[in-house]
Point group: C2
Chain length 108, copies 2
Amino acid sequence: MFGDLMGMMGKLKETQEKVKATKERLNHVSLEEKSSDDLLKVTITANRKIKSIQIDDSLLADKEQLEDYLILTLNKAIERATEVNEAELAAVAKEGMPNIPGMDAFLK
Amino acid sequence: MFGDLMGMMGKLKETQEKVKATKERLNHVSLEEKSSDDLLKVTITANRKIKSIQIDDSLLADKEQLEDYLILTLNKAIERATEVNEAELAAVAKEGMPNIPGMDAFLK
């Protein structure tokens, strides 16, 4: 029994390292999200850090429209980044999880 | 042994419900982030959904400056939302985790 526990702890430690390495790698995974008419472009990392926002001059004429464009495009970008982030981290964490039915519920 | 496993699975199911309820509640937790001069205001939920972006008219005169303001303020808003999100979900998940030393590493 004690040996099992030690084995499990070792595996968790190893997985913890992998989770950390994955988080570091996700800093260098970039996603681009554009408004349907390409007037607004957002680049974001899979760790949800915005790298660039490119606004077409024409959008500066109508502030409320620009604000709506930003909210829509940014939310899509954050959502996509979160999907990649969670999928990658769940895959790594799953490897290290003890095999208890229902445990993967924590990785959704 | 079997009884333990059933007990653990029951606890995990219960915690899964709590995680779900917490995620729902976080939709209604809003954070406001402002640029230091208050010319840009962003409201975001603790599930990282942007609810509003308010741009001062003066920022529309210089597009590059506006883009920089947006990147800085939005990244701070997303970061703060992620801190609240992860703290709340980790607290709930921890309750349901089997007591294996090192397990909490998955909740960082």
